[in-house]
């Protein structure tokens, strides 16, 4: 009946899906998704659903995707019907559609389409949209799990994507790398520095993956930083990482940290402040496994902070802290109180906290800890109280000063009303007594007295064992206990019976006069016991202790066998050997190797070649001031030798000053830029000027000039070269340092937007970097006019961080008066329709006196252009089809001899504000030059022409 109704409903849904109304179809799909969510089977609707895969309605389409991904595996043939739709969508101009098509296509687990998937992934990996490339990285893992034979091809794609400079892609591709080929560490070398530098800007989930990967990488590539500090290491004897061999190396040469190693540590440090607990944990484990020991303390606070988070987070973090605290007590000792147990904590949290407190205990704090433990013992949570008693036992063995105190405390607990507490105390006391039994016969006597009231088998067994083991210390009581036990033998638990047999045997050997009969009685009882263990034990004991003809030599040694001194048990932390697993991993949490766990390798004794990480191309500039960053790198590495914390601080300070505009925004055009940069590598050969190449290796221009001409027209090309969108004012470090005494130098950010017009260019215009940035600065405000304040500006030719249609400008303000100038800012009233991105006022407002100066910036027209990349053919074509453009041609007489018959140099650019194309070609014909400028902006065209003329005429020798 039910089944019938269910079928009916599905019929109903089928009808809805086949109707013409979108809304009905959508309703049907929603219900189907509801079915899937409940775990009901809706697979027979597949044919009806798959028809809607090409629907125009986005939501309907998405729901169909959900369905497809769920059931395609079961209905492979029908699923193939949908493939062509996705193939078409892969070519869609909308990146969202391309990406989602690839997502679904790769999620359909149908082996037949593997080649199609492979093709799609390869194509998407070179897509212009970083979002699509990210999806491609995800698809790699899916294809790999579908068909591991594709590994080699996939590795090629991974290799390509690893080079990607987009922060969006980085996390996903590293994930794919970890899954497909985690052993191909060689793929990382060239991307190592880039990944380190990108890390802060990658999304949080990607950060976790990258950090874990880099941890493994670093352990194979750098030498151990721990040797030196092994000497200061608090538990030196535990420095198990150092093998003998390594020690020798240490003696021969001092340790210098690889700058790349330092780079990783430095770039991950800010992530300790992340709100994502997984990121914080990842950085912590990275520091734990990679950082010199004395730098480790910075992770403590962050880890303790995580304890404020959800219960589940606490659980994992506490486990990791427990492992850490065994090796390095000092790290967490100041935070001991954070591990105090609250009555509201969950039991597993309580036990972990207890574990950590026990690990942290030392001579100095033991009294505080024991006082705290006293309240725990009284807890209503009896399992926790029992765990506390264990912990007290551990403290007592580890710290000999308090052994007696602990023992007395535990003896007091023997009169506790709760059975579990008493039992646990007995067990712990037994372990403690083993260390020094002779002094404690009182305690043994006391326990014998309590014996009648204790019912927990483990505790009874423990007491009996103690009696037997130390029967010589309690010669009067032991036989009496045995007498009582003989009476109750049959009613005891197995574990107790075994100990009774044990006790009997031991007493027989030491005091056979009193106990011979008792022993025989017990052995007889044991002989017919139901449990075979007890029967076996009884038989064994009988043969051993009762001499007869058959028992040969062994019984002579019975005493030595049974009464042999036994080593005291070592009370250890359960986390003792957890450090064999990398911290923060699932395996560590479970304390057993999870599938897919990648072991962290030991440090290499000798560092592998460092140069493998060298990259020919300068690292991409993610911050407007990445040059300063590089300086810091050097600075950082040079100070490594001393590696004092003060040098660290100074580095970070200078860094923050320079970067006081933040990375976040500065990379606004970064994804666009990076793609052009990768192109640039191919076209780099076009430029031959070596000097320039040294300065900026990735240059993009469409000039095919012989060097001589280059030199002559260089200036001119340079003048017109770049898009300045936006004005960034900054001061280099050295400058800052040099002029500190007399001048007030400030970093200021200002942007001018010259005019905002919508962006409509037909050719795809990709911006390239400037060839040359002139150092000359222009005066904005003279110190006389400015009453002491002088200002200079310079076009930095860097992309503007505040907007695409802005030009960046570096403003240097200096104070040549003897008073402090305060509250320097750009006033609101800017005329001329220029849009200026104001900087924050400098200095605080204290004075009342205000001055206002009006200044104006007059950029050379070239500063408002942005060079773009264009093939020569395109250039000619654009020049030809400029029906809307005006062109200017002029012949300029040059009065210098030129030795080449015809050389044409070309420059392509666009205006910053509107993006209109500007094409300039200069043809040098002896002795004249023909300048052709094509642009739709008449004014810019004529101004350019004028400047070209002057420049060409003046540049002649």
């Amino acid at each position: 009946m039910l089944n019938h109704r269910f079928l009916c409903r599905n019929e109903d849904l089928k009808e809805m899906l086949e109707s013409n109304k979108e809304s009905l179809k959508l309703e049907a799909m929603k219900r189907i998704v509801g079915l899937i969510a409940k775990g009901k089977n809706a697979s027979e609707l597949f044919p009806a659903v798959v028809k809607n895969v090409a629907s125009k309605n986005i939501e309907l389409k998405k729901l169909v995707y959900v369905y497809l991904v769920r059931y395609a595996e079961e209905q492979q043939d029908l699923a193939l019907l949908s493939i062509s739709t996705f193939q078409r969508a892969l070519k869609d101009p909308n990146q969202l559609i391309r990406a989602s098509a690839l997502r679904v296509l790769s999620s359909i687990r149908v082996p037949i389409i593997v080649p199609i998937m492979m093709l799609a992934i390869k194509e998407a990996a070179t897509d212009l949209s970083p979002y699509v490339r990210k999806t491609a990285a995800h698809a790699i893992q899916k294809l790999y799990s579908l068909d591991p034979d594709q590994k080699e091809h996939l590795i090629e794609v991974i290799e390509k994507l690893l080079k990607d400079k987009s922060t969006l892609v980085a996390g996903s591709v590293v994930m794919a790398f970890e899954e497909v080929c985690p052993d191909r560490i060689d793929l990382i070398h060239k991307n190592y520095r880039k990944l380190c530098n990108l890390l802060v800007d990658v999304e949080e989930w990607g950060q976790v993956v990258i950090i874990h990967m880099l941890t493994r990488y670093a352990r194979t590539q750098f030498v151990s930083p721990w040797r030196e500090d092994a000497m200061f290491d608090e538990n030196n004897e535990k420095a198990f990482y150092d093998s003998e061999e390594e020690r020798k190396v240490e003696q021969t040469k001092p340790y210098i940290m690889d700058p790349d190693h330092r780079l990783l540590l430095r770039n991950t440090k800010p992530l300790l402040q992340s709100r994502n607990t997984a990121v914080v944990m990842a950085v912590s484990q990275l520091y734990w496994h990679l950082a010199p020991k004395h730098e480790l303390s910075i992770i403590t606070k962050s880890l303790v902070r995580l304890l404020r988070s959800h219960r589940e987070v606490q659980y994992v973090v506490l486990q990791n802290i427990a492992t850490m605290s065994i090796q390095r007590k000092g790290m967490f000792e100041p935070f001991m109180k954070s591990f105090y147990v609250r009555s509201t904590d969950a039991t597993h949290i309580k036990t972990l906290k207890l574990e950590i407190l026990t690990n942290l205990a030392n001579e100095a704090n033991i009294s505080t800890i024991l006082r705290e433990f006293q309240t725990y013992v009284k807890s209503q949570d009896k399992a926790f109280a029992a765990a506390t008693i264990q912990a007290i036992g551990r403290c007592a063995t580890n710290i000999s000063e308090v052994t007696d105190t602990c023992l007395n405390g535990l003896v007091l607990l023997l009169s506790n009303r709760d059975e579990t507490v008493v039992a646990e105390s007995v067990v712990v006391i037994k372990k403690l007594l083993q260390t020094q039994p002779s002094q404690h016969s009182d305690i043994i006597k006391h326990m014998a007295k309590l014996f009648d009231n204790i019912t927990v088998p483990m505790a009874r067994a423990s007491i009996l064992w103690l009696m037997g083991e130390y029967c010589e210390h309690v010669p009067k009581i032991a036989p009496d206990v045995l007498r009582k036990m003989a009476k109750t033998f049959t009613n005891e638990e197995d574990i107790v019976k075994l100990q009774i047999v044990n006790l009997a045997a031991k007493l027989y050997l030491t005091n056979s006069k009193q106990t011979k009969l008792l022993t025989q009685y017990i052995l007889n009882l044991g002989k017919y016991d139901q449990n075979y263990d007890i029967r076996d034990r009884t038989r064994f004991i009988r043969q051993l202790i009762v001499p007869n003809e058959k028992s040969g030599a062994l019984s002579k040694y019975a005493r030595r066998i049974l009464m042999a001194p036994k080593p005291a048990p070592v009370l250890q932390s359960a986390f003792k050997d957890r450090d064999r697993f990398q911290l923060g991993t699932l395996s560590h949490t479970l304390n057993s190797q999870a599938s897919g766990y990648l072991e962290l390798s030991d440090w290499p004794a000798v560092a592998p070649d460092q140069s493998v990480r060298n990259v020919e191309v300068v690292e991409p500039k993610f911050y407007s001031d990445s040059e300063e960053e590089e300086e810091e790198e050097e600075e950082g590495s040079s100070s490594e030798g001393s590696s004092s914390s003060s040098s660290e601080e100074s580095v970070s300070e200078s860094e923050s000053e320079e970067n006081s505009d933040d990375s976040n925004k500065s990379s606004s055009s970064q994804s666009e830029k990076s793609s052009s940069e990768s192109d640039s590598e191919k076209k780099k050969k076009t430029l031959k000027n070596k000097k320039l190449q040294q300065q900026k290796p990735d240059i993009l221009i469409i000039t095919y000039l012989p060097p001589q001409i280059m030199q002559k027209t260089l200036l001119l090309i340079i003048m017109t070269k770049y898009i300045l969108i936006h004005i960034v004012l900054s001061i280099s470090t050295q400058f800052f340092v040099n002029c500190m005494c007399s001048l007030l130098h400030l970093c200021v950010f200002l942007a001018c937007q010259f005019d905002v017009v919508s962006w409509h260019v037909h050719v795809s215009l990709q911006a390239s970097s400037p060839v040359f940035v002139p150092e000359t600065s222009h005066e904005l405000l003279h110190r006389m006019t400015g009453k002491g304040l002088s200002a200079q500006y310079r076009f930095t030719r860097q992309p503007c961080i505040y907007g695409n249609s802005m030009v960046s400008l570096q403003l240097t303000l200096s104070n040549s008066s003897d008073q402090a100038l305060e509250n320097i800012h750009i006033s609101e009233k800017s005329s001329t329709g220029q849009n200026i991105h104001r900087f924050n006022a400098i200095g605080e407002r204290h004075t009342t006196k205000e001055d206002e100066f009006s200044v104006s910036i007059q950029p050379a027209v070239g500063e408002l252009l942005l060079p773009i990349t264009m093939s020569e053919a395109d250039f000619t074509k654009e020049q030809g089809n400029t029906n809307t453009s005006y062109w200017h041609a002029d012949e300029t007489p040059t009065n210098r001899p030129i030795h080449f018959s015809v050389c044409i140099s070309r420059f392509a650019g666009k205006t910053v504000s509107s993006g209109s194309l500007v094409l300039v070609s200069v043809a040098l014909k002896d002795p004249d030059a023909v300048i052709t400028i094509n642009t739709e902006k008449t004014v810019i065209g004529s101004m350019l022409l004028r400047q070209f003329k002057t420049a060409l005429t003046n540049s002649c020798p």
């Binding site: 969006l168 052993d183 659980y315």
Partner: protein
């Protein structure tokens, strides 16, 4: 005692490692099951091939073994999978993992899922999830791709999938239009992924709540065993365009350990102790901080208690008086006292001087809703407890948990200096509110 593996020379290990072939590589979240308080699976979602829901049997076993719902271990190994669960709003979110993955990664993600649901549906209950199962599915689809987190920022998700409102539901049913966005969220590709573009408000406002919580353990005699202050700044920012805000403190040195929303520029903070950020749109947690432990923590309330049981008597005495201590002249409000009485207590017959109290004879939980503390007339709760006849005297006294609120006070003394906005021209309305709450505030008796 487990045997410790004998250390193997590193060279041998390295040689072994090179030969290891990773057959099963790392994979993230495989499936998700939602389990309600009565132990029923009411939603399942698979990102890869389907995992049978019978895998949850291992979870149910653990659930049965646990005495309290909170005691279920967060990570449960099963023969072929690993189950990682979080418990929020009495729903277990059970993620199925197939191989090695940082457990916090999964836990953090699951909590993010819960936060998103809460953000979308106002509450995260079984009913709400069942009512919005399609949106839930769409969200989960966007949040994970192949088990790897894709879009978890609430601002991005809201552009992809519009949160359900009554109006939109009605319109959608009539017109068949969708609540799925067609464009890639602009934030996704920009460097400010947490903020959507094109935000417009007629009233531009930015509110910041500085909320501090005192975690403390007070011992029997009233002295403080441990006390620390943890704070957060929650923001509700409704500003047009791309505002760039800076928030500065009068006394930033108080903040010892901070964690930021990704929008905060870390370097600015390092250098100038200023929070500079382009805020997400709407509600978000800007900052959480810890006040350095060197500072003495002011304890705003004190408790005088006398809870005693006599041997042999079936009566126990219960006396509790609350009073304000260091409150900087502010009133202590919304005071709630709760205590887990020993198992031997059958009933409590108490008399509150103000507020109401309840005692649950099954869970033995006593809670007293005090309200506001009036310094002139201190609230007290006095009376007797009846014990099980013949039972021996409980050997421990209950701990007392206290909740309270103090408006307009940040107990650490933290003060916001000023809030400035750059990048936009309008004048926003700005508001800052301070509040102190009890965190885990326990008094041992």
């Amino acid at each position: 005692m487990p045997n410790h593996p004998v250390p193997v020379p590193s060279s041998v290990l390295a040689a072994l490692k090179n030969k290891t072939i990773h057959l099963s590589a790392a994979k993230m979240i495989h499936s998700l099951f939602l389990v309600n308080a009565s132990g029923d699976i009411f939603l399942e979602k698979h990102w890869k091939s389907v995992v049978s829901r019978s895998v949850c049997d291992y979870f149910f076993e653990a659930l049965e073994r646990a005495t309290e719902p909170e005691n279920v271990p967060p990570v449960i190994p099963t023969p072929h999978h690993y189950l990682i669960n979080v418990l929020r709003h009495r729903i277990y979110f059970v993620a199925v993992i197939q191989s090695e993955v940082p457990p916090l990664f999964v836990i953090e993600f699951l909590h993010r899922v819960v936060d998103t649901f809460q953000d979308y549906f106002g509450v995260c209950t079984e009913a709400a999830i069942k009512d919005n199962v399609v949106v839930v599915y769409e969200l989960l689809e966007e949040m994970l791709d192949n088990g790897f987190p894709l879009a978890t920022e609430s601002n991005i998700l809201k552009e992809l999938i519009k949160p359900p409102t009554i109006l939109r539901t009605v319109v959608n049913t009539i017109t068949g239009s969708t609540n799925v966005g067609e464009q890639l969220p602009t934030g996704q590709l920009s460097v400010v992924p947490w903020r959507r573009t094109g935000v417009k408000y007629t009233n531009n406002e930015a509110y910041f709540d500085v909320i501090e919580e005192i975690d403390a353990i007070i011992d029997k005699s009233g002295s403080t065993i441990t006390a620390e202050i943890q704070g957060v700044i929650d923001a509700c920012v409704k500003l047009t365009g791309m505002p760039d805000l800076t928030l500065s403190f009068m006394n930033p040195r108080l903040l010892d350990d901070v964690s930021f929303h990704p929008c905060v520029r870390f370097k600015r903070w390092e250098a100038e102790r200023i929070l500079s950020f382009i805020p997400p749109d709407g509600n978000f947690r800007l900052l959480s901080y810890h006040v350095s432990s060197q500072n003495l923590v002011a304890i705003p309330v004190y408790v005088k208690h006398n809870i005693s049981f006599r041997e042999g008597s079936s009566q126990g005495r219960f006396e509790l008086t609350l009073g304000p201590k260091q409150t900087m002249g502010k009133a202590v409000e919304s005071v709630l006292v709760s205590s887990q009485l020993p198992r031997g207590v059958l009933n409590a017959n108490l008399n509150p001087s103000q507020g109401t109290y309840t005692f649950d004879p099954v869970t033995k939980l006593l809670s007293w809703d005090v309200g506001k503390i009036n310094p002139q007339k201190l609230p007290s709760l006095k009376g007797s407890m009846s014990l099980q006849a013949g039972a021996s005297k409980p050997d421990e006294n209950p701990t007392i948990n206290i909740q309270f609120k103090i408006q307009q006070l940040a107990i650490s003394g933290l003060k916001v200096n000023r809030l400035d906005m750059y990048g936009e021209k309008y004048k926003p309305f700005k508001g800052i509110k301070y509040m102190t709450k009890a965190g885990k505030f326990q008094v041992r008796t």
